[in-house]
């Protein structure tokens, strides 16, 4: 390859790479506005939200042949709440500002990331209703490629819960809106792609409202007296990707910064703070 053409070729490669199969997820990676991996996403057919036999809106397809996944309609540089409206405490504002330059968020190191962050991936999620189990399970495609259980059986949050990335979620339907209440989060992740901080006091209420066939309106109420001066809201829309299915994505496959994921050796792991810088 001639040197004079290298820059152009590399640029072309980078652009192509953003649309190629399974690009590495990072804060500068593909946003929802770029071409979906490997294929054009089908042009969305307008229509009403599908409903079940009881007439209640469902978050899946109208029938098993109607497959799809949900990805965010969102610019990756956007906070889920306008910056000037976020009721930071001084320490959480300082940490948020610090994270703008040190863009080393846990999600890119394969850590599961709860709340809004779970829905802010290029590959999306699927909501699977399992009435026989009394659960809805949200399956991630990208990121940690894991599952989040929402208990729909009327139970309460347990008293002996060990904090974890997705917390403990209980849900119910209010009309056509799925309302999910969650507590019990660890602090080892960022709430959104811009790095809103939180503590383990975080309590969230999420509303998923499918407005029509192609749109879920997602709102999240964040209640964290450890990090914010008052409760506040954020949100964005999810878009239905007709015909798409869950597929395998393993974050660890090409995650070469091993020391960032696993802590860099026995003697260098700093266990003194749970707040992720």
């Amino acid at each position: 390859m001639k040197n004079s053409k290298v820059t152009v070729a590399l640029l072309a490669l980078a652009v192509a790479g953003a649309a190629a199969a399974q690009p590495a997820q990072n804060t500068l990676g593909s946003s929802s506005s770029t071409v979906a991996p490997q294929q054009q996403r089908q042009q969305a057919e307008a229509g009403p939200a599908p409903v079940n036999a009881a007439g209640r809106v469902v978050l899946q397809g109208a029938d098993p042949s109607d497959k799809g996944t949900w990805t965010p309609v969102f610019g990756i540089l956007d906070p889920i709440t306008p910056y000037e409206e976020i009721p930071f405490q001084p320490w959480s504002k300082a940490l948020y500002d610090y994270r703008q330059t040190r863009e080393l968020e846990p999600h890119t190191r394969c850590k599961a990331s709860g709340t809004a962050r779970q829905f802010l991936t290029p590959y999306g999620v699927e909501f699977v209703e399992l009435p026989e189990l009394g659960q809805i399970i949200i399956f991630d495609i990208g990121g940690p490629h894991t599952f989040r259980i929402i208990y729909m059986d009327g139970r309460e949050h347990p008293s002996d819960w060990q904090n974890t990335y997705y917390g403990h979620s209980v849900g119910r339907w209010e009309g056509n809106t799925l309302v999910v209440d969650s507590v019990g989060f660890t602090e080892q992740f960022w709430l959104d792609r811009r790095g809103m901080p939180h503590t383990d006091q975080l309590h969230t209420i999420e509303h998923f409202t499918r407005k029509d066939k192609n749109t879920i309106e997602y709102r999240i109420t964040l209640d964290d007296p450890g990090a914010y001066t008052k409760t506040f809201d954020g949100g964005f829309n999810l878009r239905w990707n007709q015909g798409e299915e869950l597929f395998e994505y393993v974050c660890q496959q090409a995650n070469y910064a091993i020391e960032l994921m696993v802590g860099g050796g026995a003697s260098s792991v700093d266990r003194s703070s749970t707040i992720v810088p």
Partner: protein, 370 residues
């Protein structure tokens, strides 16, 4: 010189018992012998400074005084998921407690000790040697749905505590610990009908005490039969409407995989990855009477398919059979064909226990401490 004070007359004297050879518990974590030297038994005593109650392994930090010098040691325990099942809690040992610890020293000479169980003065012995479900097994037939079909999963319960933790060909008898580390490396050729290159690779992995395990080094997934040989287990979730069987992992990275039950073809049928080779392969399943039969192909080679590191190639094809003869037993049988690594097809089988009234454990390899 610092004076050490006994915190109180009720202060705990904690003893860690010496590690028994060959009795280990598999999580997504390295073989003990990969990190700790079985021939290096030692003792320390001192004051607990910190308890790090985190996956993948909990640690108790101890300040040890030697003359004028105080050094801090890390005592490594099992995963909190497994410790809790054995009655250990985050407060079982607290900062300020005086402890005596016996264990194995880390191979790299760092101030780390592996401890498997602890004896508390006046309190019961906690040991990880006899892990079993917290609720005793009830003798009951397997549950069935309204369609008469056996139910493999349910709202509250999962499959764990496999009867064997390492994969060996049916009918072969070799001594192996729960991480798949052979007692006699010369037995490697007996474990499975390995081709010469694969036997050499397997032998090398064994000789290096399994420290090259990609699940240990960088949390690569437990693809293949390995996911059924962790105490942390798996859970079946049958999505009958969409004709999918999800398998949720208690070990590894808390991934899920999908067994397609809708009669689709194998190649290129899942949008997004076409025929890319996968960690979990591509699985098609169907019921044959009360047996779930799953055929999986399309594996990549970037993981170890068993505890102990039996090799495989992208030609690997697994046919798995799952039955639930009674409430508490999942019978698992796998037929392994890999013309790239083995000289013929071969089988292995074992069982898992139903862990009632508990959700599949929440464990993420990438929580990670080394």
């Amino acid at each position: 010189m610092q004076k050490l004070k006994l915190k109180s007359t009720i202060g705990l004297v904690v003893l860690a018992t010496v590690l028994s050879s060959g009795v280990e518990h598999v999580s997504a974590q390295p073989a003990i012998v990969a990190k700790f030297d079985p021939s290096s038994e030692m003792s320390i005593s001192g004051i607990v400074t910190h308890v790090d109650w985190k996956n993948p392994r909990a640690h108790v930090f101890v300040n040890v005084t030697d003359g004028n010098a105080v050094t801090n040691w890390a005592v490594e325990l099992e995963s909190p998921v497994l410790l809790r099942g054995n009655g250990w809690g985050e407060s079982s040992v607290k900062p300020g407690d005086r402890v005596e610890v016996k264990g194995l020293r880390a191979r790299n000479g760092s101030r780390q000790i592996w401890s498997e169980s602890m004896v508390l003065a006046g309190k019961p012995v906690f040991t990880l040697k006899d892990l079993k479900p917290a609720i005793p097994a009830r003798s009951e037939p397997a549950p069935r749905g309204t369609d008469g079909k056996v139910i493999l999963g349910s709202a509250s319960g999962y499959w764990g505590f496999p009867s064997e933790h390492a994969l060996v060909e049916d009918g072969v008898n070799v001594q192996m610990d729960r991480y798949g580390q052979l007692a006699e490396i010369a037995d490697a050729a007996k474990v499975a009908p390995l081709q010469p290159w694969a036997l050499a690779l397997y032998t090398q992995r064994q000789q290096r005490s399994l420290q090259d395990d990609p699940m240990f080094i960088n949390c690569k997934p437990p693809g293949g039969p390995r996911q059924y040989q962790s105490d942390l287990g798996i859970k079946f979730v049958e999505d009958k409407v969409n004709q999918r069987m999800f398998i949720l992992m208690g070990s590894g990275n808390r991934n899920y995989r999908i067994v397609y039950m809708d009669g689709r073809d194998k190649v290129g049928s899942v949008t997004g990855d076409d025929d890319n080779p996968l960690y979990y392969g591509r699985s098609l399943g169907k019921w044959e009477g009360d047996t779930l039969v799953v055929v999986t192909t399309g594996f990549n080679e970037d993981f170890w398919m068993t505890n102990g590191g039996l090799p495989h190639t992208s030609k690997l094809e697994l046919t798995e059979r799952f039955t639930r003869p009674d409430m508490n037993t999942l019978q698992y049988q796998v037929a392994i064909t890999d013309t790239g690594a083995y000289t013929r097809p071969w089988n292995a089988s074992w069982s898992m226990q139903w862990v009632a009234d508990q959700e599949v454990p929440i464990f993420f390899c990438q929580d990670n401490r080394p």
